[in-house]
């Protein structure tokens, strides 16, 4: 935990920090959680040190800890992005069959993933842009199909283009309604009736959210502001 960051006034927060702080609130003690690489991996910075949360890296460790001090790296202990990590007391090494057995078998309480598009059905597209970016799905399809809760952490729109859309134009990651979308502007819950606006970002108005969202949002009564920082 970084004291400077924790104490910084929210006015100075970056979009990514707002998102990571808000997602961190979704994580409860004792949960088994997988954080995707990039923005989702920042979430761990905003959990108390004694949170009792187990982080899983899909490459094979449960009980992932922070980056080791310089000179104490182990080439056999990395996260899914290949970065050096440590193992907390009670950590377990697992092979890829066990790792994805836990994911697909519903043993993973939550996964936090980035997103390219989420649509009104709550379906996520986050692994390819045909003709442009074909990196492979890695573990994303299993994570979205299998985790108990799927939280998508992403900036609300990309270069003025909406990412929360009526129907994904990009190839889906899974035909599964994800659990929650967290952006710097809003917290949105996909329900069987559609996308329910749960919270506004700090100092963000409902109109600002609607302006950057091409999907229909359900606005039901008062929409409180996120409580972060």
């Amino acid at each position: 935990m970084d004291a400077k960051v924790m104490g910084r006034p929210r006015a100075g927060m970056s979009a990514k920090e707002v998102i990571a702080r808000r997602v961190a609130q979704e994580i409860k003690p004792g949960m088994l959680v997988n954080l995707g690489i990039g923005l989702p991996s920042m979430v761990a910075n905003y959990l108390p040190h004694d949170s009792g949360v187990y982080f899983q890296a899909e490459n094979g460790v449960i009980g992932l800890g922070a980056r080791p001090p310089e000179g104490m790296e182990d080439p056999h202990l990395t996260d899914a992005g290949g970065g050096f990590v440590t193992a907390l007391p009670g950590a377990a090494s697992i092979d890829s069959a066990m790792s994805f057995g836990l994911i697909r078998g519903g043993h993973l309480d939550m996964t936090v993933l980035g997103g390219l598009q989420v649509d009104e059905r709550g379906y996520l597209a986050n692994w390819m842009v045909p003709g442009k970016m074909v990196p492979g799905m890695g573990g994303a399809m299993d994570l979205v199909a299998g985790a108990k809760r799927v939280v998508v952490a992403m900036v609300h729109s990309a270069k003025g283009e909406a990412k929360i859309v009526p129907e994904c134009s990009l190839p889906l990651t899974a035909m599964r309604r994800i659990s929650l979308i967290v952006t710097e502007l809003a917290v949105i819950e996909p329900t069987h009736e559609g996308l329910l606006l749960r919270e506004r970002g700090p100092d963000v108005s409902i109109d600002q959210i609607l302006a950057q969202t091409s999907a229909r949002l359900i606005v039901d009564g008062d929409v409180p502001e996120m409580r972060i920082g």
């Binding site: 004792g30 899983q56 007391p89 090494s93 057995g101 078998g105 519903g106």
Partner: protein, 217 residues
Amino acid sequence: MRKAIRPEEAAELVPDGAVVLIGGFMGVGTPERMIDALVARGVKNLTVVANDAALPGRGIGKLVSAGAISRAIMSHIGLNPEIQQKMIAGEVEIELVPQGTLVERIRAAGVGLGAVVTATGIGTPVEEGKQVLEIDGKRYLVEKPIHGDFALIAAQQADYAGNLMYSLTAHNFNPIMALAGRTVIVEPEMIVPIGVIPPDAVKTPGVLVDHLLARAA
């Protein structure tokens, strides 16, 4: 962190009629104190999924003798004459499953696969009533996953994070069943502080485990 509970408390968690996966092979690697507590509480109508029915007076054999089992899914019952008598008398319904298929059906439930596709049982009575899939010219049975309401696991060592180690032929069905029980209750021979079991020695990660039985007093 898992607080260790007494076998009597654990037995209270298992309601009559539950589907219970129980580790062990001929009674080796079976949680005996947990079974004793279930017999003591007078549990009824269990569906027991296990490799075998052990022997009278040992492991699952005690549940048989106590009349606690109404249905059994097992690969072998030949060394327990009591369960065979109850089967013939219509008191226990028995589904016999090839051993390798049984462990994979339990694994499939635990790791979120929709079925097991195996050639074992093709052309035998095991095939009856089952879907057959032809893949590249070879015939396979489609065998369904087996979930448990509970998995009752015997381990050699646990830590208070629930991480488990097993010993020799007492592994058998235990590591697989630990994946497939909605509630997983473990009877370890020893519980050690968190951090004592090296990550590479863990065979069942603690996140799968719900309850540990406290040491015998």
